[in-house]
Symmetry: C2
Subunit: 380 residues, 2 copies
């Protein structure tokens, strides 16, 4: 089985569809829980199954450092190594190099950096990022893009966008060479791997348009919108998405990277986006912040100490079916591991259920109605 995408329903610019990968299908719009080091923090794979996760995101930077892509390749690839047989998308490692690694130097060749773990020196190039992901054998690999330090003026954004384009060409060449078995020493553990290009260009419509058109010209299986949700107001992000999606092919999925709040997801779907990933449900869950249809609550708050109700009365997740806010507050207050597990489980269920409701509304031509009701319930 190889990569494919089929739009089944549309309403305005919003679409429902099915993404096919070497490890099975994913209904879109889709949300990908983040399993940084080959595991989603606090929840097991069967917990993920129970909340309806259809695809995982995993981080190339972390897996490259530990346990290493060579080891994972020897063990047959990431799916087999982590015991997850559904689709996996890996990022390029670039974002972590730019945000986490130490003493990084960016040149046209790539990014030289020191590991945040042990200080060892490494070099991440477009080719290397492609090689690592080939060894990991994810179903969807991402090209290495430059993550610009903000704030940046338009010339700097343009220069970075153009470098990202040159890197995209190199990454694609490498991807095709790997597919043809022309790179000795690098194992392709997933012959059905697809590669996505990434549109950059900051908040500048002309740069986004240029980046989109030229990235499409390079020719990838599909395309992502990067460099958003980095501090700009939501409306600015929505405008950039609105402006960018028309330049991306309608018969390919569109992936908005690192976004966002539940509201962001609904707004982006309305603007033609099909795929999302974000650490909000997992990271906030571990910090005691829970998403509900009526907004977020902080479970550590004293007001919940004797609250017998579930986190969200409309939620059917294991946490809400079984436990009270009072118990969840206790678990958080006494620092039990179960606090992370149960909170993360609820938040992921909330995100995945929101996407499920979006897909269902699209199937019945009622996405706009859903969107209005969703915002009203949140008090917007």
């Amino acid at each position: 089985m190889s990569f494919g995408f089929r739009v089944t329903h549309t309403e305005g610019r919003a679409r429902a569809g099915v993404l096919s990968t070497a490890h099975g299908d994913v209904e879109t719009p889709a949300f990908m829980p983040v399993g940084t080091q080959g595991a989603v923090k606090g929840v097991t794979h069967r917990d993920l199954d129970s909340v309806g996760a259809q695809i995982l995101l995993s981080n190339t930077y972390h897996l490259y450092l530990r346990p290493g892509d060579d080891l994972i390749a020897r063990r047959g690839g990431l799916h087999r190594f982590i015991g997850w047989n559904k689709p996996i998308l890996t990022d390029s490692g670039g974002y972590q190099v730019f945000s986490l690694a130490e003493r990084r130097t960016i040149t046209e060749d790539g990014a030289r950096f020191r590991s945040h773990l042990d200080g060892t020196e490494h070099m991440l190039t477009p080719e290397k990022a492609t090689d690592i992901q080939s060894q990991l054998g994810s179903d969807i690999a991402m090209v290495l893009d430059e993550c610009l330090a903000l704030p940046a003026d338009e010339p700097a954004v343009r220069a970075s966008m153009e470098r990202t384009l040159r890197w995209a060409c190199r990454a694609r060449d490498r991807f095709l060479a790997l597919r043809d078995g022309l790179v000795p020493g690098v194992v392709s553990t997933n012959p059905g791997q697809a590669q996505f290009g990434i549109v950059q260009g900051g908040v500048h419509p002309d740069l986004r348009e240029e980046s989109a058109k030229q990235t499409v010209d390079v020719g990838f299986e599909a395309y992502a919108i990067g460099g958003l949700s980095v501090g700009e107001p939501p409306e600015v992000m929505y405008d950039v998405v609105s402006h960018t999606t028309p330049f991306l092919p309608g018969d390919r999925p569109r992936y908005l990277m690192g976004v966002g709040t539940p509201e962001d997801l609904v707004e982006a779907v309305a603007r033609g986006v099909d795929m999302f990933d974000c650490v909000l449900p997992t990271r906030n869950g571990r910090n005691g912040q829970l998403f509900t249809r009526r907004g977020r609550i902080n479970i550590k708050n004293t007001q919940f100490a004797e609250d017998e109700g579930p986190v969200d009365p409309d939620c059917e997740c294991y946490t809400c079916r079984t436990f009270s806010r009072a118990y969840l507050r206790h678990l958080y207050a006494v620092n039990e591991i179960n606090a992370s597990t149960l909170n993360t489980l609820h938040n992921l269920h909330f995100y995945l259920d929101t996407l499920r409701r979006i897909r269902e509304s699209l199937r019945f031509g009622r996405f706009e109605t859903f969107k209005v009701a969703f915002r009203e319930q949140l008090g917007h």
Copy 2:
């Protein structure tokens, strides 16, 4: 429903039976996972269901301090508060006061101590320990016993054993007064609660005999053997158990507190013990030590870095059915929460499955055969 016990099969001094409580039945011999603060660290209640846990132990000291037995009583008792509808046993709080609390002073009245959390002063008496457990509403409450500082000479052990007996009388009086509704201000959230006495006496056969006989004279629903697994060699512990169980009524379950290794459990069953609790499977799981039929392994060891096999090829738990030693080692090495969850799940399954196999062997009159094979497989 109220407390009861029925022996269904015997072989030598070993017995299989059924313990009945206000929250359902427990097959014996039984192992109780430790849910210190109303949760077993690293695993959810449904994980516990999946490994066959039939009864939980929870710690009175911790729950008394946070969130407090008053709050739990207002929420309808511990079962309801933590969302666990099967049997629960609570300890008296004494062990933690003696091992964890600060600046403790023991008098005939009880134990004065400061909380290890915030230094607040508290007093735990036989009556108070009974009151707290009444408010928690566990199915089985334990009397407050004195935990002797070791090493101690025989006169000190005798004095402590005799104090424990006097405390047992006071605890029983209080328990009966609570049952009759004669203690204003204390809520009994579980009318079917049973109370167990505790036999002390160190490693001295005559003291153990005296303690057993006199504790039985006080008259409890059943009896525990305390003060073991505190550093003495296994053979000494086995001898004390051998010597003590004949003085405990055959129609009541016998609970060996805080014991022990899988081998200890098998040996104690052979000597007439029916119930166990121990932190070994959970604590060691979090530290990367895994129990298998062929002995323990430390999953952090480099030798497992590329080991594709399961932790224990004979094990049918979720961890062993799904994940390799290589992945579990990776999770441990990168400090993922899932390491605690998957390791704990396996260890609890191992313990509960060992008890299941013991019960099955007793039903078929093959416990002695099981015991020999179990020890041989462990290399003894």
